[in-house]
């Protein structure tokens, strides 16, 4: 049996091709991916750059727990959750949640659950730097 879930937290640019390969499965008719991207503004404030800080050891364990919940709750064949940390530029990918499943309804639901859980339960913090020289630790409202 191949590994169903793959989770990863690292400062390197996210390898989306590796995620695609992990999700490949001949019995899965549908794949749903969520990609979270660094935006150029927070509400109306222009964002120049940001860093993600992580409690890496716990973040990986939380991602594993989220992936386990997803595979227990939906009939998924593959799950990938990868979060980048360190300094990112506008437009770069911060997080990817990928799901492969025989049927698309489950894939959508599980992927949506996954990103919501990541934003709620994983010890990673975003520090945004604004064009006016200020910066701020964000908080997800979820």
């Amino acid at each position: 049996m191949e590994m169903i879930a793959w989770v990863h937290v690292a400062p390197e640019a996210i390898d989306t091709a590796a995620i695609d390969r992990h999700l490949e499965d001949p019995a899965s008719g549908g794949r749903v991916l969520f990609e979270g991207v660094v935006r150029d503004r927070h509400h109306d404030r222009p964002v120049l750059s940001l860093e993600y800080e992580a409690y890496a050891e716990m973040a990986v364990e939380q991602l594993r727990a989220i992936a386990s919940t997803m595979t227990a709750r939906w009939p998924l064949r593959r799950v990938a959750i990868v979060h980048r940390v360190g300094q990112l530029l506008v437009g770069e990918i911060a997080v990817v949640i990928g799901v492969a499943s025989p049927h698309r309804a489950e894939a959508f639901e599980a992927c949506r659950y996954g990103i919501d859980a990541v934003k709620r339960e994983v010890p990673i913090w975003k520090h945004e730097h604004y064009a006016d020289g200020t910066s701020r630790w964000q908080e997800n409202d979820c």
């Binding site: 979270g36 993600y52 800080e53 992580a54 409690y55 050891e57 716990m58 973040a59 364990e61 979060h83 911060a94 997080v95 990103i115 990541v118 934003k119 709620r120 339960e121 994983v122 010890p123 990673i124 913090w125 975003k126 520090h127 630790w137 964000q138 908080e139 997800n140």
Partner: protein, 80 residues
């Protein structure tokens, strides 16, 4: 004595990514926030919104803290 990991704005306000706290032998997760606030007054205002993790899992307020546990303060997260 317990080593407590700090992150993000808590780390910045405390000026350190790790602090040592003297706690009684029967300390529980709920005792961490007042102990930190007493030693780092600047941190006090953000502790009410923080969660405590023990051994890399979110802890209930009454979870006991044992010698050698990995304790961390988790301010509101903003990953994703």
């Amino acid at each position: 004595m317990v080593i407590v990991k700090l992150f993000a704005q808590v780390r910045e306000l405390a000026g350190s990514s790790e602090i040592q706290l003297e706690l009684p032998d029967d300390a529980r997760a709920a005792d961490i926030a007042p102990a930190i606030a007493a030693r780092f007054p600047l941190v006090a205002r953000v502790m009410p919104s923080a969660r405590i993790a023990i051994n890399r899992a979110f802890a209930d307020p009454d979870t006991p803290i044992r010698a050698g546990d990995e304790v961390a303060v988790i301010p509101p997260v903003s990953g994703g």
